[in-house]
C-alpha cells in the first residue's frame, strides 16, 4: 500500500466520486462543493494573473488600447450598483457583437460552402451515391416551412432522419471503447498505485 499522501488523497477522492454511481451521498456532496470551490477559485486566479500581465500592467504604463478593456471590465461590475447597473450591458453588447462575427466567419466557409462543395462528387460508385443522397436528404429534414417541406421533400426528409440515426448510431458505437478506456488510469491508481494489487 502506498505511503504517498498525494496518492492517498487522489485514491480516496476517486472512490468518493465512484460512490455517486450507487447513490448521491453526503461524501459526494462534500466533494462536489469542494470541487466547485477550487475550480472557481482557480478560474479567478488564472483570469487575474492574465489580466495583470496583459491588461492592468500595460494600462498603468500608459497603453491607451488597454485602458478600454479595463474600463469595460469595470463596467461589467456596475451590475452590483443598482443606480448604474444598466451600464454593465455596454461591455456585454460589445463582446456579443465580436462573438457573433467570429461565428459567421467560421460558419460561412468551412461549415457551409466547403461542405456543399465537398458533396459535389461524381455518382460513379454506390458509396458516392449514398453520400450525396444521404447529405441531401438530411438537409431536407431541416426544411422548416410548411410549403418547402411538402410532397417529395417530405419523403426525402424521412429518409434523412434515418440517415441521421445511422450516423448517430455509428458515432456512438465508435466512442464506446474510447470512453471505456478512460477508466483504466483510475483503476490503476486505486488498485495499483494505492493498494498495490496490480503489477
Amino acid at each position: 500500500m502506498s505511503r504517498d499522501p498525494g496518492i492517498w488523497t487522489a485514491a480516496l477522492l476517486t472512490i468518493v466520486v465512484w460512490s455517486y454511481l450507487f447513490k448521491q451521498n453526503i461524501l459526494f456532496q462534500a466533494v462536489e462543493h469542494l470541487f466547485v470551490g477550487i475550480a472557481a477559485a482557480h478560474a479567478m486566479t488564472v483570469a487575474f494573473t492574465n489580466l495583470r500581465d496583459t491588461c492592468l500592467g500595460p494600462a498603468l504604463m500608459g497603453d491607451w488600447a488597454m485602458t478600454v478593456p479595463l474600463l469595460g471590465g469595470l463596467l461589467l461590475y456596475a451590475r452590483f450598483l443598482p443606480k448604474i447597473s444598466h451600464l454593465s450591458r455596454i461591455p456585454l453588447a460589445f463582446v456579443m457583437g465580436t462573438a457573433a462575427a467570429v461565428v459567421i466567419r467560421g460558419s460561412l466557409g468551412p461549415s457551409f460552402i466547403q461542405q456543399v462543395a465537398g458533396t459535389i462528387i461524381p455518382l460513379t460508385s454506390p458509396d458516392n451515391v449514398i453520400l450525396v443522397v444521404g447529405t441531401v436528404t438530411t438537409i431536407a429534414y431541416f426544411l422548416f416551412g410548411r410549403k418547402s417541406r411538402s410532397g417529395m421533400m417530405d419523403h426525402a426528409a424521412r429518409l434523412g432522419r434515418y440517415i441521421m440515426m445511422a450516423a448517430f448510431g455509428a458515432a456512438y458505437g465508435n466512442t464506446v471503447m474510447m470512453r471505456m478506456s478512460l477508466l483504466i488510469p483510475r483503476i490503476r491508481l486505486v488498485f495499483g498505485d494505492w493498494l498495490g494489487l496490480l503489477p
Binding site: Q24, F35, A99, L108, V116, I120, P122, F142, F144
Partner: protein, 244 residues
Amino acid sequence: MQQLTQICVLFSMLFAGIIYTRSYSRTGTMPIRRLPGLDSLDEAIGRATEMGRPIHFTTGTGGLVADTFAAFAVLEYVAKKTAQYGCTLIISNAQPLIHPITENIVRASYYAQGKPQSFKPGNIRYHSDSMQAYVSGVWGIMEREKVAANIMMGYFFAESLLLSEGGVRSGAFQVAGTASTPQLPFFVAACDRTLIGEELFAAGAYLTEDPVRIGALMAQDAAKIAAIAIILTGALASTVGLTM
C-alpha cells in the same frame, strides 16, 4: 473567389430574410411546420408545474457561440412560461460571461410577465468553467432540488452524456438541443427529446412567432433548397464529365 461566394451567401440570406419577414408581417400566416421537439418544452414546463418541482436550464460549457445565442431565445420562452405558471426555474452556468446574460434574460422575462417579485437572482448559478466541476454542481442541483425537467440547450462538449445521465438518475424529463455533431448521439440516446442541429436555431421563430425570426428561418430554408439544387446539379454534371 471564395470570399466573394461567402459575401454572396451572406447578403442573399439577409435579403431573403427581409423579403420573408415583410411577407409574413403582411399575411400573418404561420409558415413553419409543427416541430414536436419544441412542443416538448411545454410538456416539460407543464410536468414541473403539476409536480410543484423546479425546472433546470443550462447552456453547456460552449461560451458565446451560435448555439448559445439560439438557446437564449429558448430560455426567454421558458422563463416567461415559468413566471406565468409560478414554477421555479434554476439555471446553471459554466461560462462567467453567459451568467449576466442569462440573468438579464430571466429578469426581463419575469418583468414582462408582471412578476418581478418572483424573480430570484439566487436561482441563476455559476459553477465555474471547469467542465467536471460544473457537471458535479449540476448533478447536485438536480438531486437536491428534485428538478422535474432538465432543459439543455446550447453548445456542449463531453459534459453532454454526464449531464443527461445525471438527469436520468434524478428522474427528470429531459429536452436537449445542440448543433454540436459529436455530442448529438449522446443526447439522442439519453434524453426524452432532442432538438437536432438546426432545429435549435428554429426554436426562437417557432416559440415566439417573431416576424424577424420567422423571416430569417424561411431564408434558411431557401438557402437549403439552393444547396440541395447545387449539390444535385453539380454531382450529376461531374458524373457526365462536366467540371465546375
